[in-house]
Point group: C2
Chain length 123, copies 2
Amino acid sequence: MSTDQLSRTFAALADPTRRDLVARLSLGDATLGELAGSYEMSLQAVSKHLTVLERAGLVTRGQAGTRRPVHLEADLLDPLTDWLEHYRRQAEQRFQRLDAVLAELAADEAYPGTARRNDKEER
Amino acid sequence: MSTDQLSRTFAALADPTRRDLVARLSLGDATLGELAGSYEMSLQAVSKHLTVLERAGLVTRGQAGTRRPVHLEADLLDPLTDWLEHYRRQAEQRFQRLDAVLAELAADEAYPGTARRNDKEER
DNA sequence: GTCCATCTCAACCAAATGGTTTAGGACGGT
DNA sequence: ACCGTCCTAAACCATTTGGTTGAGATGGAC
């Protein structure tokens, strides 16, 4: 899991049960008991999953008597979205540049037989 | 890792080395040897990381003689973004509804002594 | 052909993950 | 004061993960 925040958050969402918990909590806070009812596994297992989400900062647990309402901190999803968008964009732009290069090559149909092989890098 | 696509993809990004590989590949294709130079770990370890990215569909390996250029399939990041955005939005909307309710309560200042307890959230 | 570079495969290992069971602590209601 | 509910803690287990090393394949260059 590698201890850094982004890794913890991605790892937290790399499990269907945990994603389902996030989905449920996006509709409103809930207690462990309420949540655990929906899954096959033991209540303790669900609690462990919540702990994982908590360590990623995605979730906080309140205190109301013996109940512990669980609350989703949805803002914490933003860094992930940002990361994903950044590199998707980067690849997209690079692709468009490559596209432009190819278009230019097509335009230079003047000299045909030039072995163009692997122009892999342009960075 | 749980075998489903979304889990595999989230899990693939839950590692700083793998995220770095994606970052590098977003700038252009590269071979295993080129990539592996940048990391402390063995070339085989980097290859394993690439395999993880490959099984998540984020990366494909070509074939050019004995070289295997690695290519980022940046589109595969979209489902993650979609998932994240969906639940962030959901929570956001719910929060706004709650906000409206609270505003309405505040408007009903008729009876003053109502214990308001912990309205910890305000963003 | 021989040699070198690039990459894959397999065995092995320590540590983390995802679950279980059992036990116990803290509150609220009666 | 007692009981039941809600939750946490801890020990244990199987499997996965992230790394290592060593030993081939495979293909290009000479």
